[in-house]
Each structure stands twice: as C-alpha cells, then as structure tokens.
Subunit: 296 residues, 2 copies
C-alpha cells in the first residue's frame, strides 16, 4: 500500500508519496498562495490519487477536526489572508479519488516522530514548532491530542517583562501571547531581520526565555515524557542549549525526576526526522485511517 501525505503549511505545502522515511517515492514543495491554486497544484501532484490507498493532510490551523461537524476539515479563524473559511478537506476531496485523513500539522509531525523518530515508545509527549508561528500538539496516553478543538500552544499567555523587552507582540488576536512574542514573525518584527540572520546573543537569550516559559507551562499542564521542537527558529545553533538551561532554571527543582534535573539533553530535543516529520506523519495519518490500526 502506497500513501500520500500533505504537510499543508502557511508558507509552503510539502506533498509526498511512499510508505515511510526509507521509502519516499515522490515529493514536491508548493508555495502556499491562494487556496484554490494551492489545492489544485497538490491535487495535480497526486494525479487525482491514482494508485494511492489514501492521503493524509497535516494542516496549519485552526481547523475543525470534529468529524460530526458540517465544517469538518475547514480552516477557521486563521489571520492568513484568503484562507479563513476554506473547506480544505472538501476541496481536496472534490479533486482526489481516495480517502482523506486530516489533523493539525503539529499532530501529524508528532505522529511521524512517534512512528519513526524521537517519540518511539512514548505515550505522552509534545511536538512544538517555532517557525513563522508557534503551534503544538502531541499524544496523551497514546492518542493524538484533540478536545473541544485542538491544542493551540502558541496562544498561551506568558510573563512579558516590558522593561527588558518593550516589544508589543504581533498576534492579531492577543498581542503578546507566546506566538506574539516568540514566533519567527515576532523575531523579525522586533529586530528588523529574520531569525536566520539574527546573531545578537542577547536576542537569542530573550528568545530562549520565552520558549522556556512556554515549555514550563506545557510541562505543568501535560507532563510530557519528552518535548520535540521543530521549526525554522530552532535552526539557530545556540537555541537548544539556552532553552534547556532556562527551562531547568524555571522548573526550580520542583519536578522530582531525572529528565528534568540532569541537563534536559534527552528531554527537549530536535525532531529525529528533521523537517520531514510533518509529511511523514501525514503518510502515517493516511495509513491509520485506511487500515484502522491505531498508533502503538
């Protein structure tokens, strides 16, 4: 059985076919433009779904994931121009003659890491992306996290010391929420250059402070066995050591477990699948939806 996967991001869509990391048969990257154009190009790549057992979609959001909802698979309140209200799954289904499965981009990435990467054998863990925006998902008790809607880690409120950082934040809904302060767009707006060109160590200490505050809140609510962090901002070489050290400081010795006391090198980690977690997880979404086997 060959599957298709789409990592549907706000900047680009990555589409692939295959069965796993050692068997990716074809792949392509499509810039995210208007909904109709982007969806058309993805459908063309998959040639209507010919020869595929199913296609999984890991999408940016917020997206309605309630299968009983008339809006299942529809992008909801995104500030991304043109995309709010797009019936992503419906539009794809009209062009593809195969079963579709959908989840958030971060849940798809978590699923990929659970099957083949840094979360193999764990049942409660998080996948967080710090890229253009900030998102989070993962598994609790061996199941992908859902609920009323789906997790939106990026919109947590965290302490913001305006003396140290007078920047107001860029979230159109919340201003200085986690994403408003620490996403790639926030970095660009605060410093006037994109994260990949930012070299000031103080700027990276500030970034690590916000990420660590977000992680502490995730640890307090979910108690993950591991936290995987992807996304372009995490390509900065100094960021993982800074985040680990600051998270340990903020934990303050309260969490009585070796994982949170001894360096955190094995607790806060990069995705083992690199930037392929999302599209590989989308393949796995399709496999699960098609053959009915839940993650183990």
């Amino acid at each position: 059985m060959i599957y298709g996967g789409i990592e549907a991001g706000g900047t680009k869509w990555v589409c692939a076919t295959g069965t796993g990391p050692d068997d990716l048969r074809t792949s392509t990257t499509i810039p995210t433009t208007a909904p109709a154009e982007t969806i058309d190009r993805a459908a063309e790549f998959f040639r209507g779904g010919e020869g595929l057992a199913g296609i999984g979609v890991g999408s940016f959001g917020p997206i309605d994931l309630d299968e009983r909802s008339p809006r299942w698979g529809t992008i909801t309140t995104t500030p991304k121009p043109g995309w709010a209200g797009t019936d992503l799954v419906g539009e794809l289904a009209g062009k593809l003659d195969v079963p579709l499965a959908v989840d958030t981009d971060v849940n798809a990435a978590a699923l990929g890491e659970h099957r083949w990467g840094a979360a193999v054998g764990l049942d409660t863990f998080c996948y967080i992306t710090v890229g253009t925006g900030i998102g989070g998902g993962g598994m609790t008790g061996g199941k992908l996290m859902h609920g009323l809607l789906h997790p939106e880690f990026g919109h947590m409120r965290i302490p913001h010391d305006r003396v140290r950082d007078p920047f107001d934040g860029i979230c159109p809904f919340h201003g200085d929420c986690f994403e408003g302060l620490a996403s790639g767009e926030a970095v660009r707006a605060r410093w006037g250059i994109p994260a990949e060109r930012l070299t000031d160590p103080h700027a990276w200490e500030l970034e690590a402070e916000y990420i660590a505050l977000g992680l502490v809140n995730v640890i307090c609510t979910l108690s993950p066995q591991r936290i995987i962090i992807g996304g372009g901002v995490m390509n900065e070489p100094s960021i993982f050591p800074l985040v680990r050290a600051r998270t340990a400081d903020l934990a303050g010795g309260y969490f009585d477990t070796p994982q949170l006391r001894e360096g955190l090198d094995d607790y806060i980690v990069a995705p083992a699948l690199g930037n392929r977690s999302g599209v590989l997880g989308a393949l796995e979404l399709a496999r699960i939806a098609t053959d009915g086997t839940a993650p183990s």
Copy 2:
C-alpha cells in the same frame, strides 16, 4: 461490592465507604497532621479494610504514580512539613488488607465528576482546584491525565503586572507562578485575611484575572470540552462570573466555537458533586482498579 475512598488533602483527609453519591455509608474527616498519625487514623476508620473490595486514594502531591517505580505512591517534593518522602501507599498498604489504587486528588475529583457529575459523557476535560494550593487534572481522550509525572497546573507561569499587584507570590519554588499568585494561601498573604473574609471587589477582580490567565493556558494546551473548578476560593459568589468574562476577553475571539463565545456559563463550571467530587472519585478509582472496567 463496597469500596473505600480517601481524599487525602494537605489540610484534611475525607474518608468514606459506599458505592456512589446516593450510597455513601460512612464517612469521616481527619485533620492532616503528621503522616504516621494521619495514616493510622484513616486505617482505623476503615477497620483494616474489612468488608471492602478495595480502597482508592486521591492524594495531594506531587506523588509518584509510576507503577514500575520503587517509589510508587510516595509523596515527593511537597513543601508541606513532614510529608516529603512519605510512602503514602506503602504505609496504608501495611495497615489495610485490601487492594489500593492511587491518583492525584484532582484526577480523583475529575473521575468522580466524569462518573456522576459535570463531566458525564466528555472525554477531554479538566478539574482544577483553587484552594490552599492550585492543582489540576482531568481526562484526555477518555483517560485520566498522566505522563512523565502528573499535571501540576498550579506551577504554570502567567503574566504578573507588578504595577497593579506588587505582591511577590508565595510559591517556595517559583515565587509568582499561578499558585504563588492566586491560591488561597496567596490571597491570605497578599491581603492579610483569608479568602472567605475578602470582600473588596478589586481584590476579586485581580483573583479572577489570574484564574482566567491560568484557564486560557489550559485551553491552549489541552482544549478541554469543559473546565470544572472547585476549591474553597471558588466559594466567593462573584468569582465564576468574573472568571468567565475575563477568560472570554483573553481568548479574544480566537477559538471559533460556541462554548468559548457565548457566556461560558456551560464551559467553566462548579463541580456538580460539590465538595464530594474527590472522595467519590476515590471510590471510583477503587472500583476501576478492582473490577478492571475503564471509564466510559
């Protein structure tokens, strides 16, 4: 089958026998003094477990809940004098001739509300207590929340405007974390009087601000279908309306769902079982451990 339940709190232990809210046969309240004395009195109440199929314990924490751990059932880093390192389950097991089950006090309360109260039929929801301390637990995907340790909602970091509230917070580990700012002990330390005697509307607006910030972070990480809040601080008549209004403000229209737009009266609720959620949930913990039936 008759079960025993212990709600083992930092101030008092509530012990009961029975099968549910309409069939509580005996109950007693024991002040939490030294560990040995408190445990002895609980064991005496249950007369060694005679006639009971099992006893469930919903305990204050942090507590080791990993059944593979040599410290399973041991209280770990609590600041409560004399209790850090207490092998709660081991000590009880030495005095009681019945199977024991243990979880956090808040997970036990969540389980009680799931079986008989405000969470019947939900699979992802939270139970939060704002009392002497602040704790949180609940279910995700139909299972009680566990993980590396267990949730510790009270130790999240939230924004703290020191101009509005110069109080440093009372958490011995983190100072002005959620519990450090908003627990009953924090209220007493900030205002010099206990919450039940606090009448200043500005003080309650500040309390609602902190609780709402905590709830927004819980919504962003867990996406619960409902949030149940118990604990002594929530007895103030104005607090639920204030918290609901401020949570809606902070959500800022981002969460596109009726539950989070329309008053939140049915989203942020008091426990339907009142102050019996914990001890009834402890009975249910015992029932599940004894007959092997998971929550439905």
